[in-house]
């Protein structure tokens, strides 16, 4: 008798646990077709403000639909990308998700997880609203899969005006040769590390801009689609120039993030820093007004861009709602609502510069006329795998300065990962 009672208690306990587990497995479900779930990693700061602006615009333009915030915070998008990958594998996509425009999308495109938006581009007049260079960079096999919400510029050289004035430097260097002369002059005036630099990905950004200067924008773009050879002599020269530039940088670069390097410029310990134009918003927030900016020496009128964009996933629950969201994102009003808050510039060329702060005004002017090239460090030129391999190779190079090994590593990475159009 004792046995049965014990067994009964045990059985009841087990059953309770199992049924609890089974309940946990169920899904909320039952969402109406009015909901548009927008999946981003914009959870706070200027990014959240920009998203809120966009949502307000969406509420006006698409009153039939309801915005559902599917933001996953943390890790500069790393967490969100993991969640997104598993949702896509389970065939449970959000109605739209955020992704860097360009090559970072290539995995989703190859997997057939996002829909072609070329027809919508024509219908919404985006082909003419965006510059041709951007359209070319976005196009994969004649099709476009995403709508960019904003544009950032990666090849901007930031400077501390006081340090430059004290060293008697009055004009921005226009070529790499002039840049080296300027850096030497700064060194002679006692600025020990004229160029502030951070760890691996910031070094990749610097190498990319040197490549633009040495190869020109067309051959540079070719590096990412397989038409320019990474093993070529011109790449070797660019790597040599890059090595020379490292000689002007702070020795503790591998232990600094970009904001630490930015602080070297703000403190006057360094004169220059190469960084994307989110630095303008950051310097403004930190109350540092004494900064100057110029295109990286030798880049001419090349505009190295990166962009956040939205897509239409295959099997989205509410494709019409998604299209209305994408139309809002691409519209002049939507881009204004988003970018004036986030501190970036609109991808459209018809923006009114008067709506934006000073730096953004010059960037908007350049965006219309300049030649667009993508960025690997920020995903518009290369896939995530390529990006990871390049960052690792730059990290190694920073410690051993082995130019041959760097070129070989980049060439190998290109053969493994480069998108072939």
């Amino acid at each position: 008798m004792r046995f049965t009672r014990r067994a009964a208690i045990a059985a009841v306990g087990v059953a309770a646990l199992l049924s609890a587990a089974a309940c946990g497995g169920g899904d909320g479900g039952g969402s109406s077709t009015k909901d548009v779930e927008v999946f981003t990693w914009w959870a706070d700061g200027g990014e959240k403000a920009g998203l809120d602006g966009l949502v307000a615009q969406f509420g006006t333009a698409c009153a039939d639909y309801t915005f559902v915030n599917g933001a996953v915070a943390g890790g500069a998008g790393a967490n969100a990308k993991q969640v997104l990958a598993s949702r896509l594998q389970q065939n449970d996509p959000p109605d739209t998700f955020q992704a860097h425009a360009g090559a970072e999308l290539s995995d989703y495109i190859k997997a057939g997880q996002v829909e072609d938006l070329s027809a919508q581009y024509g219908e919404w007049g985006l082909n003419n609203a965006f510059p041709k260079g951007l359209i070319d960079n976005l196009t994969v096999d004649g099709k476009i899969y995403s709508v960019p919400a904003n544009i950032h510029r990666a090849n901007v050289l930031w400077s501390n005006k006081t340090v430059l004035t004290q060293a008697g430097i009055t004009k921005d260097p226009a070529s790499l040769a002039e840049f080296f002369t300027t850096l030497d002059a700064l060194k002679a005036k006692g600025v020990a590390t004229p160029l502030a630099l951070g760890k691996d990905w910031t070094q990749l950004m610097l190498l990319e801009t040197v490549l633009i200067s040495d190869l020109g924008p067309d051959k540079f773009t070719g590096l990412w689609n397989g038409s320019t050879d990474w093993a070529g002599a011109d790449v070797t020269k660019a790597i040599d120039d890059f090595t020379k530039l490292l000689g002007y940088t702070n020795k503790d670069r591998d232990s600094l993030d970009w904001t630490d390097a930015e602080k070297l410029v703000m403190d006057g310990k360094a004169a220059y820093q190469l960084m994307g134009d989110w630095e303008a918003a950051d310097l403004d927030t930190k109350g540092f007004k004494d900064y100057g900016y110029a295109v990286f020496p030798g880049n001419g009128d090349t505009f190295q861009w990166l962009a956040d964009s939205f897509v239409l996933p295959k099997n989205a629950k509410n494709p019409d709602g998604t299209k209305c969201w994408l139309k809002t994102v691409g519209s002049a009003e939507g881009q204004k609502a988003f970018n004036t808050k986030k501190g970036s510039i609109p991808a459209r060329t018809d923006a009114n510069p008067g709506d934006y702060p000073q730096y953004q005004q010059t960037a908007i002017a350049d965006w219309k006329t300049a030649q667009q090239v993508p960025s690997c460090a920020h995903g518009s030129a290369c896939s995530q795998g390529f990006q990871g391999a390049a960052n690792s190779a730059l990290g190694k190079f920073s410690s051993d300065l082995d130019t041959a090994a760097l070129q070989k590593a980049l060439a190998t990475a290109a053969s493994q990962f480069a998108k072939t159009n």
Partner: protein
Amino acid sequence: MGKRIKRWGPGLLLISPSLVVLAVFVYGLIAWTVKVSMSDEHDALGSKGFVGLKNYTDLFTNDINDRFTHSLKNLLIFTVVFVVGTMVLGLLWAFLLDRGVRAEGVFRTVYLFPMAVSFVASGVVWRWLMNSNTGDDAGGLNWIFGELHLGFLQNSWWTNPDWGMAAMAMPAIWQLSGYVMALFLAGFRGIPQELREAAVMDGTSTFQLYRHVIFPQLTPVALSALIIVGHMSMKMFDLIMSVSGAQWLTEVPAVYVWQALLTSDYAKAAAIAVLLLLFVAVLIVPYLVHTTRAERRS
């Protein structure tokens, strides 16, 4: 038959939930990881097929810049310095406390306390302490050395490409030496007082007492400490992430797994994870076999 079921049936039924959970979420997922590690799931596209051990051989022979062997080299330096450091310091402190100091409780707490701090929190502090700048820009330890006119001691800490991982082991030693000390102290206290008295009666010197009577009996404790510290070292992730972040200089296999996952290279991440599991198993399984045998004997 019915009698036997009566004897162990209810017990088995009661532990069955945890058995099921373990089977699914530990062993099932290990099996799943092994399966992924033998597929070609190198991007978000999902797997296309089975490639056998290719991902494993690629890690050793075909990884760009020999990234994986470099991470193993880093792990080896870290592990050797970390394990030797904690064992030596832990034994030394335990020995000193065993000799009978005043306010032993205070010292024990002081030494053991760093273990209560998380690796992430101490890593952030050590990141600042191990600032690699020297001279006028020096910060942290280098600044202290400079102020004490010990400038020759200033060094590049973890940013040194060859021996940086030895510096990385310092925070870990600082945190876990106290724990090893506690283990050894328990070992010292577990040795019956009669043995010491008998040895002294026989006329041993203090050195002989420790060398021939005490230390031999500490072997099981030393082995446990070695295993515990050693397997922590193999899986080291949080400390490195908070001191240096993920980068080439300080990359160990656990960090590499995470980096591979971020680039959606699931097959490579799984292969490294399986290798890491094997390394830890090589350390732990003989220990488990040893203790089971010892228990059966007694």
